[in-house]
């Protein structure tokens, strides 16, 4: 039986209803536990978020400063890990010596729990911006490196040989044959690293840094204020999702345009 045809309007209806059901379940759960004050409902959280955006934080800083500094940290950590990771991955792919020496170490860094890495770096570098950033970079870079390395391994040798047979210069073949094949891996590394950076920054801000969204929800956690903790967490996740969608959805279409060309 051919699968039931899903018209776009069905899809939209389903997506909208899924969000509504989620909100509804949340609201019902919060009503059910109203006495214990454990789960504030969506409306209460909404109000808290709006209030939070107006009141200054524990150090008297504006809430936008917290948001801004988190974003700044993410940006710096992300770009650094991407650059470092790509360089390492490419080095491993192109140079046999690099590959052999790093291949034994990198999986080790991948199996290490991130909390251990963060603790370690903070203990060594102290409670400072550098410490936090190094922690994040140390966790994310190996992932990027492995992804890119996999990409170099999956390279289609026959195409490179073809370029050489046509006497293409090294730079040309690098740009036109090598890099485009690497793009999907770059992209998936990009995407994964982006999500990961957000999570590690949250962790680092909790344990070692001053200011920032992560710091805020840790602060409220220590005060056992459920409403505030939830509010800041939701702000964090919402921001991440919006940025991820805005950045990657657009890029994805451009990057993969040649793939989705109709090859019937």
């Amino acid at each position: 039986m051919p699968p039931r045809q899903f018209l776009p309007r069905h899809v939209v209806a389903l997506r909208v209803s899924s969000i509504l059901v989620l909100l509804l379940l949340w609201w019902m759960a919060s009503e059910a536990m109203r006495d214990t004050q454990i789960l504030p409902g969506p409306v209460a959280i909404g109000r808290t978020i709006i209030a939070d955006l107006r009141t200054p934080g524990p150090y008297g800083e504006s809430p936008y400063f917290d948001i801004g500094i988190t974003l700044a940290r993410i940006f710096i950590a992300f770009t650094t890990s991407m650059l470092l990771g790509t360089a390492i991955g490419l080095a491993m792919g192109l140079n046999w010596l690099c590959e052999r020496s790093l291949l034994a170490i990198i999986p080790l860094t991948l199996t290490t729990p991130t909390i251990l890495m963060v603790f370690l770096v903070i203990m060594w570098f102290g409670y400072s911006e550098i410490g936090g950033l190094v922690a994040v970079i140390a966790v994310v870079t190996p992932y990027v490196a492995v992804n890119i390395f996999e990409g170099t391994k999956a390279m289609d040798k026959s195409l490179i040989d073809m370029a050489t047979a046509f006497k293409a210069k090294r730079y040309q073949s690098l740009r036109k044959v090598y890099l485009p094949q690497l793009t999907p891996y770059l992209f998936s590394a990009f995407r994964y690293a982006f999500g990961l950076t957000w999570k590690i920054v949250a962790l680092a801000e909790t344990f070692g840094l001053k200011y920032g969204i992560g710091y805020m929800f840790f602060f409220w956690f220590q005060q056992f204020n459920i409403a505030q903790t939830l509010a800041w967490i939701i702000m964090f996740v919402a921001l991440m999702l919006i940025l991820e969608h805005a950045v990657f959805a657009r890029l994805e279409d451009r990057v993969f345009a040649w793939r989705t060309a109709h090859a019937r």
């Binding site: 051919p2 899903f6 018209l7 776009p8």
Partner: protein, 298 residues
């Protein structure tokens, strides 16, 4: 007993109702006498009348007519072929008869001889690729369809042994499909289709993915097997020579939209040799006619 069997809820237009065949006389009017072959008790006749299938693209809401007003009649025990270029909807037609695809107009009727369990006639299907379950042995692959058809377990060993022997693979029960060649895998697929003692055998270009030598051998083996087994067969192919060699009747199909433009009876007596001059002559004629129609469309 005639059972008009059309797919649930999708038939939007009924054409002329077919009169039920009298219970004792299991033959349809107008066809040469075909009794049940020795050793077999069941085969069915297929009647397709005015079949229409449409496919609509969900995004653009455009509709394509895949099959347009197809009518076939295949008597019990007959071997009928459908010949047409690739992509003209032959597989879709088979799927509709097998009951796994819906259709938008016309009637598909199958007249079983024996009342089989209530679920309808036994249909065996051999695909272009063997479609065997790689992680099961040959024996267990056949068990799978026997279980699906609710055949009692006590009969399984005997059915497996008989049918594998029939296709020349006796002793291969415990082997895995990946250890077999393409031709042998396709033989297993045929044995699997026969193991359920089908009333109808549908074959969708079963030899097109094999090399010429293996295909030729398998064609001979098929004819051999079917002399003994004898279900009604609907065989789809793009190879006119193959169709002429194997079948009692050929329907020629053109594409876009798919429709049947010619019906030919092959009266050459069996056993046939592919080099037989009658066959070659017939094939040449049909080929010429075929191309004139198909090329006229382009």
């Amino acid at each position: 007993m005639t059972r008009i069997w059309s797919r649930k809820g999708q038939v939007r237009r009924q054409s002329a109702y077919l009169p039920p065949t009298p219970q004792t006389n299991r033959r349809l009017p107008g066809f040469p006498r075909q009794g049940p072959k020795p050793g077999r008790t069941a085969s069915s006749a297929i009647t397709v009348d005015g079949l229409i299938k449409r496919y609509s693209e969900p995004a653009s809401q455009a509709e394509f007519i895949v099959l347009s007003d197809i009518s076939l009649t295949i008597g019990e025990g007959e071997f009928a072929s459908i010949v047409g270029p690739s992509g003209c909807g032959k597989s879709t037609l088979l799927n509709i008869i097998a009951g796994i695809e819906s259709y938008e107009g016309g009637v598909v009727a199958i007249h079983p001889n024996a009342v089989v369990g209530g679920a309808g006639p036994n249909i065996g299907y051999v695909f272009q690729t063997p479609r065997l379950l790689d992680w099961l042995t040959v024996e267990k692959n056949i068990h799978f369809v026997l279980e699906a058809q609710n055949v009692p377990r006590s009969r399984w060993p005997e059915l497996v042994a008989t049918n594998l022997a029939m296709v020349g693979l006796a002793g291969q029960e415990r082997n895995y499909p990946r250890n077999l060649s393409g031709g042998m895998q396709q033989r297993v697929a045929i044995a699997r289709a026969l193991a359920i003692e089908p009333d109808i055998l549908l074959m969708d270009e079963p030899f097109s993915h094999l090399d010429a030598i293996t295909a030729r051998k398998l064609r001979f083996d098929l004819v051999d097997v079917l002399q003994r087994a004898g279900p009604t067969i609907l065989f789809v192919t793009h190879d006119l020579a193959e169709a002429v060699f194997l079948s009692d009747k050929i329907y020629m199909m053109s594409t876009k939209p798919a429709r049947i433009f010619k019906r030919v009876r092959i009266d050459i007596p069996r056993p046939r040799q592919p080099e037989d001059e009658h066959i070659v002559e017939l094939e040449k004629t049909l080929m010429r006619e075929f191309f004139s129609v198909v090329e006229a469309k382009d």
